[in-house]
Amino acid sequence: MNWEIVIGLEIHAQMSTKSKLMCNCDASFTSEANTHICPICTGQPGMLPVINKQVVESAMMIGLATKCNIRKLNEFARKNYFYPDLPKGYQISQYDKPICENGSLEIDVNGVKRTIGITRIHMEEDAGKLVHAGSDNIKDASYSLADLNRSSVPLCEIVSEPDLRSAEEATAYAQKIRQIVRYLGVCDGNMEEGSLRCDANISVRPKGQTTLGTKTEVKNLNSFKAIEKAINIEVERQIDILEEGGEIVQETRHYNEATNSTKSMRSKEDAHDYRYFPDPDLVPLLIDDAWIKKVQDALPELPEEKKNRYMNSLSLSEYDANVITVEKETVAFFEETISFGAKPKDTVNWIMSEVLGTLNQKGIELSQTKLTPKLLAELLILIDKNTISGKIAKTILPQIIETGENAEKIVAEKGLAQVSDQGEIKKIVEAVINENAKVIEDIKGGNPKAMGFLVGQIMKRSAGKANPGIVNELLNELLS
């Protein structure tokens, strides 16, 4: 049978605010257990929550960037359940009145563009962390330790419509969400540290059927690779069951990256009934048009807008505009580099291939090098002015990255400036012609490759410094 895959993603993005959602504790990550806690986030008796205004604005920003409607009258609700990482015995979340609804974003998989609906975005507080002692596995642990540093750290949960039709689309969607929240500066997008977490609702149905199949929710997708692999393996599992005449059980499944398999998380202990009700300790949140406008006006330029602008006013190709806008840091570096006079197209090429290539080899980030946009611009301008060749530029880039010295200084010190003196170059050209009589014959016989060889010989003899334009000019003149 021909099966259609139906996927919806729930992404939890940790807001990178200074303080927590309901108290003033430091919201940043620390490995020292229970050092970012206070009476409020540990649920001490008599303590009361107060909403962090920045979290509301961050949620509005994500909503506006994904074309959501912003709800005017918002409410926080309590989600009641017992667990040792949940100090109050309830999580403060939003229930039937989420701050953002009915949005969408566009994804592009191998040139095919699709619009994916966003059902809702809501604010909630995170739970603490449990360390299971005696084993990495909760099942074999003899006891557990609760660290509440993460308790009440702000999250936005972004829920997509079941619009995704393949693991690739799901991955592209997740990448897009990560790109947007990073551009907005509301989340650092670090999946390894758990700042961005993803659950996938997966079902399959025969092609052409309009009703949805029974879904499973797959948790623990901690990287884009995991999202793709987990969806593929779960889809395969579901299709196998259905083709053998079985039925899918609606349940939560845990993805194990090591074994590349999903496993049921069912537990007979659980009686699920979260008993949501409006939190009486918090008052409603009223968002008026003026507030929405203020947040809208302060939104930074988003990847999609930047891409279009680069294509229209910087004449970048769609490919170049795409690659340079993927990462927020790269695009900032690019914009600053061209602000110093470097040409956009050259800048894209240099950043994407030479700069990131060199950094990759060294295993470091753009932010960790001594290379500044100004230094890169100076280097590119030297090429542009024919002071050095591109080849020379490539050889000195690692030194700039290492030392932060400017290109002009390195070129002067090492005597790498391009030679454009006609007389000097002519001597070399003549000498090379004399030594390669056979090659000259080939050229005259109509073999263009041979010309390249000659140029190479000349460049080599000039230690790469001869101006290639003049070399070509002289060669043509002397051989004609």
């Binding site: 107060v50 017992f82 642990a141 557990s144």
Partner: protein
């Protein structure tokens, strides 16, 4: 809408309480009495009435996003029955 023993057992599970048989009987009886009485609410016409979660309507109460470090963390931990490595220690979560 009367309350039976099974309902009370379910409620006990949801609220992490455990009862003896006698307690179960007694709570079932008192809850049933209470809800027999409270069912008078169903007579009230509440069509189109919005629910009040608060006594007095207030809106938009926020705190600014600033870090204030709490200095008495050790005193918080002193109230815990079992502390290990500066963490709240709990018995094994899953049993076989």
């Amino acid at each position: 809408m009367t309350i039976d023993k099974k309902t009370v057992e379910h409620l006990a599970k949801l609220s992490r309480l455990r009862f003896s048989d006698n307690e179960l009987v007694s709570f079932t009886k008192s809850l049933d009495d209470i809800f027999q009485y409270a069912n008078s609410l169903q007579k009230v016409n509440t069509d189109g009435i919005s629910p009040s979660a608060h006594a007095i309507p207030l809106q938009n109460v926020f705190k600014e996003d600033e870090v204030i470090t709490y200095k008495d963390i050790d005193k918080l931990l002193d109230n815990c029955a079992d502390v290990e490595n500066h963490c709240f220690k709990v018995p094994r979560i899953l049993t076989n």
